[in-house]
Amino acid sequence: MQGVKQKALELLTGGKADRVLGWRRGETFYDPTPGVFASAEEVERDFVFDAFCGANLSKYLIALDRAEGVTAVFLKPCDSYSLVQLIKEHRIHREKVYIVGVACEGMCGYDALMKAGIEGVLSFEEEGDALKVHTLYGDTVIARKDALLSKCEHCKSKRIVTYDELLGEQGDEVADSGRFDEVARLEKMTPEDRFAFWQNELSRCIRCNACRNVCPACSCEKCVFDNPDSGIRNKAAADSFEENMFHIIRAFHVASRCTDCGECTRVCPQRIPLHLLNRKFIKDINELYGEYQAGADFDTRPALLNFQTGDCEPSIVHVRGGERA
């Protein structure tokens, strides 16, 4: 996407924003870090935006909300859902953010290059739908769709929910994203197989808390899992029970507020498909309480902060399809 850096300069010099939240160039191409830029010189020197700027910047705005003045931010469609959800929860004041929506065709990640077996990456060039990658061991070409971040594989929407300004074209929700296919596949398995599947995944957890800390919906000042007075603080899963507990509670606490931005899975150093827990809640909510997309608007109530007198009973879990344990 061209013009992002130019826009950052413009916003700072034109006085529309006191600071800009964007990406700082890394040592190489796949490692930009989110950063706050206060001056045009800084932007000139360090600002970068390219196919590897996949991080969701919304959560940083909670802290920046306390700073004087307006923060300009660049949001991809999925990031805009997170921001709207945070505004809805009164964690961020809308008027303190100047939102530049950036159209997105899916972001790429180092992990995907590794998975594709590309070793020794040095630099890349975007060539239409492909990435030309220079490596220590020769040049290679990879289709952009094969280099996507895990969270971009089943993009749910190209629509930027709210913005002050738009770079590129506004998009639509993706009707056939297929994002629940994997959840449905798991639901069809026997409870024994599901249990084995999740034990295999969750037992790799090292409790680094990256999934929790990156999550825009996880915005408690002090998490129960860090609080020595909560009685359930644990720094490491000393028993398999604790692996289950952490991940159930983490996903439950954001249920109906989770926008499915997929950051949890992107950051997991152990590559646990954590989004499959969140998507299970979203799928259940859609099926039991009507379609609901967190962060898609400013006024609807999240499903768990709402009810209907005619809601189904919890026993629906017992009567819905699938084998019994």
Binding site: W198, I248, F252
Partner: protein
Amino acid sequence: MSVKTDWKPTIVAFCCNWCSYAGADLSGTNRLQYPANVKIIRIPCSCRLNPMFVLRAFQRGADGVILCGCHPGDCHYTTGNYYARRRMTLLFSMLDYLGIERDRTRVEWVSAAEGAKFAATMNEFVATVTALGENRRLEDLRCKA
């Protein structure tokens, strides 16, 4: 699932203060029988039940967890049980998704006048969980040592 003949499950029953706890009381004063391995924990409203309580009950040795509250529409706080209903639906569904036996969890609405329903529900739930056997998938081995 090996079930020893003399094995009795531990059941934790979270009961709301206004309806179900009174219902349990009534079943007692009416001399209705339900197994002694049902441990009642009184909570102010069914919606006080944090999902963590359910997990912690399993961790500390429960083989089944049941939530009892006022019938929908009769909540002492007007709407608490409606929220509880959605939460438990999603939590139970998640436990099922993780491969934990879905018959270990249950929600039942029991009013203060339904002593007989309370006893019957507990008898039935204990029988169900007894048939399932010990909770192995959501246990904490350190609590069993």
